[in-house]
């Protein structure tokens, strides 16, 4: 009975923890609250614009013990940081048709597994915490609006 319960619990945990959800902050709304700042959108532009170029950004970081993230392997970091900075450097005030991909997200089950392994390693004095390299890739079209942003 105990063994069956253990097997069932492990199965339930493994099947329920098979999804990973990555969330990023809000991009620009239309009409924008103000016409300052970089216009960021996965859609097109709400007005006339000139295409200045294209950018690809890859953010990387490390996930420690399944839960702690270090570096720029998030959606917000590369988009609001490097992507916006590069667009500004190119003379643009907007990035449209943004596409993104978290290359290796971690499921709840994998997080729990890494945390448990890290605790075990620390308790036994072997190897140290589990660390996983993380990557996020973002692309977008850099534009400059003709006139004020709507």
């Amino acid at each position: 009975m105990k063994r069956a319960l253990t097997v069932f619990s492990a199965l339930a945990l493994s099947l329920s923890g098979c999804s990973a959800v990555t969330r990023g902050g809000a991009l620009s709304s239309v009409p924008a609250a103000s016409d300052r700042g970089m216009f960021l959108s996965t859609s097109g532009a709400p007005g006339r614009y000139t295409t200045l170029g294209f950018v690809q950004v890859r953010g990387y970081g490390v996930q420690v013990a399944g839960y702690q993230e270090a570096g720029h392997a998030t959606l917000d970091g590369p988009i609001r940081g490097a992507l916006a900075a590069e667009a500004s450097r190119m003379g643009g005030n907007g990035v449209i048709h943004i596409e993104f991909l978290d290359e290796n997200p971690t499921t709840d089950f994998e997080r729990a597994q890494a945390a448990a392994q890290s605790i075990q390693n620390l308790a036994s004095g072997q190897r140290g915490v589990e660390a996983k390299d993380r990557y996020v890739t973002v692309t977008g079209e850099v534009i400059r609006f003709e006139g004020a942003v709507q």
Binding site: L15, T22, R23, G24, A26, L27, P105
Partner: protein
């Protein structure tokens, strides 16, 4: 018994191999429903007012048991269901610019997975998009 002039086993194997070199997947998107969040691969039409509520990526990962059974739900429809749940949590009217990434296994690969059942096939699907809340168009503006 007369032997067939055509060697059947190599032909059958070749046909199976050729049939298994293409894998495609089609998932019907839910019909427009005033209650359910919408999901579309298109963007917001130019001029239509909306609020961006953030970006989302849903990844479902598991294994195919015996090459065909998918207990963890790694097909596109399962990912879209989860995307809908996340849209409800975020208070979004829908998801725009949805993109799907799925590497489907060919029939030949699935059959191999069924034969070598002790080596389950890894399976994963990823859906990305942007949550939006539509604003009511003001008079005179483009809907």
């Amino acid at each position: 018994m007369v032997d067939s002039p055509v060697p059947m086993r190599p032909v059958a194997a070749s046909l199976l191999l050729l049939a298994g070199c293409t894998a495609s997947t089609f998932t019907r998107l839910p019909s427009p429903d005033p209650i359910r969040p919408f999901v579309t691969a298109e963007g917001i039409p130019a001029g239509s007012p909306y609020d961006s509520l953030g970006l989302v990526q849903v990844t479902r990962r598991g294994v195919l048991v015996f090459g065909f059974a998918d207990p963890a739900g790694t097909e596109v429809d399962a990912a879209l269901e989860e995307l809908e749940l996340e849209a409800r949590k975020a208070g979004a009217d829908g998801v725009v610019n949805a993109r799907v990434l799925k590497q489907p296994w060919t029939l030949a690969e699935r059959i191999t997975g069924a034969v070598l059942f002790f080596l389950p096939l890894p399976s994963e699907v990823t859906v990305t998009g942007e949550f939006v809340r539509l604003r009511k168009a003001t008079a005179g503006s483009v809907p």
